[in-house]
């Protein structure tokens, strides 16, 4: 298992993150494939100026829903401004609720 996979949100998605459809496609392409093969997955929000619930829920809650709550042990959220951190925590709560404590296969 390789060590850390890092994605740069501002470089890949822009400084304003607002479209849930884009977030979902990004997650499928850039995050999901690495969850099972990396020890850490770092979501780097440095440079992200603003985000909304649509984007963050599609990006993060779906990760928990599909990989189970244990994925939190692998995820690192880097460079979050305070409002982005609120959106991260809220998306995690949503994901936990939706995953129902599911343990991944």
């Amino acid at each position: 298992m390789s060590s850390t996979h890092t994605v740069g949100l501002s470089e890949d998605c822009g400084v304003i993150l607002a479209d849930g459809t884009k977030a979902l496609a990004y997650r499928h392409a850039q995050i999901d494939p690495y969850v099972d093969i990396c020890e850490k997955v770092t979501l780097d929000f440095s440079g992200v100026r603003s985000a909304n619930s649509s984007f963050m829920n599609a990006l993060i809650s779906g990760l928990l829903e599909h990989h189970g709550e244990a994925v939190l042990e692998k995820l690192v959220f880097k460079g979050c401004k305070p409002a982005v951190a609120v959106l991260v925590e809220s998306a995690i709560e949503l994901g936990i609720r939706k995953s129902g404590g599911r343990v991944p296969a």
């Binding site: 459809t21 603003s50 959220f77 609120v86």
Partner: protein
């Protein structure tokens, strides 16, 4: 022929009578809008008029604009791009000054929503894009509201939508408004066969849309918190919110009281209007507002942070 005489005051008090007037069944034929008596407008009346004009034209009606030369606020309507957004081009007898910090003119919600959010937030909160700027919180609030409501227009309405905004320095208020001419909130729920929506009214549908985790498009990527959080944010800032969709009208007052009613005289607004006003300085602590709005909506429990953050 359908003739609409715009009243002198198309502001907060005149808005619902205006929506009632344009929301009644039309006779066959063209539409004439008379601007001669119009003296005051707000963003909500401008975007809803633009949305209606586009709807009527889509229905194959010719829309005529009369009394424009007698309109006392013609220059203002031109500067706000209301006439332009309705396809009317007139010679401008004034110089266009910078809109930054004052208003955002009527504009179709058609470009990528991130770009529009940046444009509107930069316009209403100039300098706020810099995180340490005093208007940084206002920038964030505007970007949040615009992207969530704009996403609703683009993803759910199947119609054309418009946005406009105004900074009223005297009152210290930001006014933002969005209107589309699409299917409306109730029909949007019905298209995804939400069981409760079969016998629901338009007001029921608006009330549902204001609840967390009720989405017109179930599952990823929609979690149904967009309008809910916009409403909570506005309430946290002691602002007011108006949502009109079909026959339904919902208001959230500055004291947080919510009221639901129907447009009178059987009128039905085709599409959805979302209009709000909030004190400019209330947006300064945006992260705290967002946190509290999420807690109040029941989608975030304080003190239960599970994320691993790194600087």
């Amino acid at each position: 022929m359908n003739h609409f005489q715009l009243p002198p005051l198309l502001h907060a008090g005149g808005l619902l009578p205006f929506l009632t007037m344009v929301g009644k069944p039309l006779e066959d034929g063209d539409v004439t809008i008379d601007f001669s008596q119009l003296r005051r407008v707000v963003p909500a009346s401008m975007v809803s008029l633009a949305a209606m004009v586009h709807l009527w034209e889509k229905q194959g009606r010719k829309v005529r604009f009369s009394g424009i030369s007698e309109c006392q606020i013609l220059g203002y309507l031109q500067r706000m791009d209301l006439l332009k957004s309705c396809g009317v081009t007139l010679k401008e007898l004034f110089q266009r000054h910078d809109a930054r910090g004052r208003f955002f003119p009527v504009k179709a919600v058609s470009q990528p929503i991130e770009a529009m959010a940046q444009e509107v937030a930069n316009c209403l909160a100039p300098g706020g894009e810099e995180y340490d700027h005093p208007l940084s919180g206002l920038f964030d609030t505007i970007a949040y509201v615009l992207t969530e409501v704009g996403n609703n227009i683009r993803q759910h309405s199947s119609g054309v939508g418009f946005a406009a905004a105004q900074v009223n320095r005297q009152e210290g208020l930001i006014r933002m408004a969005f209107a589309d001419n699409g299917m409306g909130i109730l029909k949007s729920f019905q298209t995804v066969a939400a069981p409760w929506s079969i016998d629901a009214t338009d007001s029921d549908a608006i009330a549902k849309a204001l609840q967390p985790r009720i989405s017109c498009k179930a599952g990823e990527p929609n979690e149904g918190v967009g309008l809910t959080l916009v409403a909570e944010l506005v309430s946290m800032m002691k602002g007011s919110l108006l949502v009109v969709s079909g026959k339904g009208v919902a208001r959230i007052y500055r004291d947080g009281l919510r009221a639901f009613e129907e447009l009178p005289e059987g009128a039905s607004y085709r599409g959805t209007l979302v209009a709000m006003s909030f004190p400019e300085n209330a947006a300064s602590r945006y992260a705290e507002l967002l946190h509290n709005a999420k807690v109040k909506a029941g989608i975030l429990q304080p003190g239960r942070g599970r994320a691993t953050f790194e600087p």
